[in-house]
């Protein structure tokens, strides 16, 4: 685990304290005027020096990273934007020509809307709800599936897969119908679902699904189907503070009070044992150690208030490493839009003072 200089984790001001039945020191107090003789006003250079952003793990689907040295409001803005304002593509309009399956049109339409799509949202525009679809804002899929008896199926067979053809309809049965210059724009990565094996419906011989599905760009605020993340969460780094050393004969019991891998018991040179914190990230903060009176006053459980462990899981619309930069871009866009409006307000102040009560 790479650990750059993240400052003094034993600094009490950075601790959110966990007690038996409550949590204390939750909010930051580092504002100008709070501590005599300390400044704490905004200083970009100082912020940059203290800031640590370190990616820990990356796969094709998810990313885990640390952001150290920011306030919760800053980290939370990114988390909220990831869930509800980073755009992605989802099926929005379903034109059903024929549906003789047992699933109702509207239930099926809702179901296909929720299929995560592996389409880069940066290649499409938002479509207004009243606008006519164009190749710049809509991707069309066709779904034509009919279930039939499988010829020469063995007698007495009960498995529908062997008895019938197309007894299951999967997301891979969606066929992309390119329009305009989409053939060239999406040449390398043709639009398709993030996973081919999502079961959409079950059919029996004689039942048919025939429909055209229009996918649009949207944001999670409108409907969760447009959220580009399966999860986007953060937690604070657990930190265990020792007030007194753990007696040798209690070391093993102490270790079992924490999640596996958090505490290691080591042999000291004098034959006694001692505990060391091996990996605080694994701690689930069960507070089990507080339940045993022999550890009273020996240990304090805390979290580091400005140490965020982000975990972001992509639905397939973006590679996971692109999600955080996208959310930062959207946040900065928000800030700049407001800044332009506030500058205009400064030029023409109180223009609409009486609009609000």
């Amino acid at each position: 685990m790479t650990m750059p200089n993240v400052g003094d984790l034993d600094d009490e001001r950075r601790h959110v304290k966990l007690h038996h039945e409550h949590v204390s020191n939750v909010s930051s107090t580092e504002y100008p005027g709070v501590y005599p003789g300390e400044d704490h006003s905004w200083d970009l250079q100082y912020f940059k020096e203290k800031l640590v952003v370190q990616i820990q793990r990356l796969s094709g689907k998810s990313i885990e990273l640390d952001i150290v040295g920011v306030d919760a409001s800053i980290a939370n803005a990114l988390r909220r934007i990831l869930m509800s304002e980073v755009p992605s593509i989802a099926i929005e309009n379903v034109y059903v020509w024929n549906n003789t399956s047992v699933i109702h049109d509207e239930v099926f339409a809702h179901r296909v809307g929720l299929i995560p799509m592996a389409v880069d949202p940066r290649l499409l525009n938002m479509k207004g709800s009243e606008e006519t679809p164009t190749d710049r804002d809509t991707i069309v899929f066709k779904l034509n599936v009919a279930c039939k008896h499988r010829p020469k199926a063995p007698r007495g067979e009960t498995d529908p897969e062997k008895l019938y053809i197309n007894s299951n309809v999967y997301s891979r049965d969606l066929v992309w119908a390119p329009a305009g210059d989409q053939q060239t724009v999406f040449a390398e990565f043709p639009p398709r679902p993030s996973n081919d094996n999502i079961l959409l419906a079950k059919l029996r011989p004689g039942q048919t699904l025939e429909m055209e599905l229009h996918a649009n760009k949207g944001i999670g605020m409108t409907h969760a189907k447009w959220s580009p993340v399966a999860t986007a969460t953060y937690r604070l780094l657990p930190h265990i503070v020792f007030r007194n050393p753990i007696p040798s004969h209690l070391c093993e019991k102490f270790r079992t009070c924490f999640s596996p891998g958090v505490i290691e018991v080591k042999d000291k040179s004098d034959g006694e044992k001692e505990v060391v914190v091996a990996n605080p990230r694994l701690e689930s903060m069960s507070r089990e150690v507080y339940r045993h009176s022999e550890f009273d006053g020996m240990v304090e459980l805390t979290r580091i208030r400005d140490f965020f462990l982000f975990s972001i899981e992509s639905t397939g619309a973006y590679p996971p490493q692109d999600l955080l930069p996208e959310s930062i871009r959207i946040m900065r866009e928000k800030v700049r839009t407001l800044r332009r409006a506030a500058e205009a307000l400064k030029q023409a102040p109180n223009e609409d003072e009486d609009m609000e009560g």
Binding site: L123, I328, L338, N350
Partner: protein, 145 residues
């Protein structure tokens, strides 16, 4: 109701009634914003030593607007503090963006595989392909007829 609401004619930011004439104390109403911007902006304003008090609220959960109250020391304009705070927030997120990309380019992290059966291969990242960035920029500029 369409959500998020279609852009309305209300100004993005307005000053509510009851503000001091010199704007040393004012409540701003910001349309189409939520806790996302409100809390971050509140924090940045509180980092300004000229600000005596700053708080924000979402007056009603189904109205997409926030109120930001700013009171200043020494009759300074709260609008100037607001503009400064917005500039600082932009810088702050710029710094996080830079630090993130630096960490990505250094590549000192664990790569692992969690592809499952039926998964579509992961799309290319703009962090690995700078030419994609240019392509996106072109697509965005040539997209509206």
């Amino acid at each position: 109701m369409e959500f998020p609401p279609e852009p309305n004619d209300l100004p993005k930011i307005s000053i509510l009634r009851g503000a001091a004439p010199d704007l040393s104390a004012a409540t701003y109403c910001i349309q189409e914003e939520s806790h996302t911007l409100g809390n971050a902006l509140r924090w940045m304003l509180m980092k300004d030593p000229r600000v005596e008090f700053c708080g924000y609220s979402v007056p009603h959960p189904s109205e997409p607007k926030i109120h930001v109250r700013i009171q200043m020391y020494d009759g300074v304009s709260s609008l100037d503090a607001l503009l400064q705070a917005l500039q600082n927030l932009d810088d702050l997120y710029g710094a996080i963006d830079g630090a993130y990309k630096q960490s990505y380019n250094e590549g000192k992290f664990q790569r692992f595989d969690e592809q499952e059966e039926g998964d579509t291969p992961t799309l290319p990242s703009v962090l690995d392909n700078p030419q994609l960035q240019q392509q996106y920029a072109q697509d965005a500029s040539s997209s509206k007829p």
